[in-house]
């Protein structure tokens, strides 16, 4: 399955949820995930499925001041 992550093509071995994608890529820190221009609430990570052609943006927040 092919998706785009931050504008770059990525191949996923199997269909997965956003939560599994986050685990698979070991994402840490303060971030939000936008799927097809819509922010996915963290509560929905475990049910939101990634599908062929989806475009994912991982948006990192920084905490310095």
């Amino acid at each position: 399955m092919h998706i785009k992550v931050n504008g770059k093509p990525v191949e996923l071995e199997y269909e997965m949820t956003v939560g599994e994608f986050v685990q698979d890529r070991a994402l840490k820190g303060m971030f939000a995930i936008e799927k097809n221009l819509k922010i996915i609430n963290k509560e929905d990570y475990s049910t939101e499925l990634l599908q062929e052609g989806d475009s994912i943006e991982i948006v990192g927040f920084v905490g310095g001041g």
Binding site: K28, A32, I39, N41, V62, G64, G65
Partner: protein
Amino acid sequence: MNRYLKNNLSKEIQEILQSAKVLICGCGGLGSGVISNLAGLGIGTLGLCDFDKVEITNLNRQFIHKYENIGKFKTESAREWIKSYNPDIEVKTYAEPAKEWMFSEYDIAVDCTDNFKIKFQLNDFALNTDKPLVHAGVQGEQGQVMSIIPHQTSCLRCVLGDNSEETENSGVISPVVNTIAAIESLEVFKLIANKEAALLNKVLFINFKNYSFKTIDFSKNPHCIC
């Protein structure tokens, strides 16, 4: 009023700014830029909250703090700068961590702090006191800004959930932090003058490496405590 002639604002708006009270939480990198911008705009009362003292490592970017003030509380150093720049501004200082009661005494609060634990605290103080908050974070070549009108627009917890994992905070150069501070200040201005802001229900992300400005919509999260 000649002082503000080049703001090119109506007399009415300038008077609104002069009667406004803004609490600035953090008088470091973001705070220094916000303080100087809000002093220039003519905000009537500035509350300054920070328990840190001026260190030599601050002076690469915190231009309101002078070399001779190393070792002084940042709040006092900032008060000195404001009074030398514009003695008409009323300044209140709090050399201690931000508290909820402080929010009650101001119209708007500005998050100029340097870690997520406190950023979430400020978010909750804003919710509990129903005071608008302008949030920002900056590190390296990145920064973000969002404005929050409690209970009406999305808050920091809507956007990030409840985990406040700390991120890297190793430093930033002055043009980066001062640009983010300028946008925070502009949001404060919009909230006071127009009762709205450009970054409600959205976050502006700036990557200074390639000058990418991206605004992402964050609607209120139905699972959020706000």
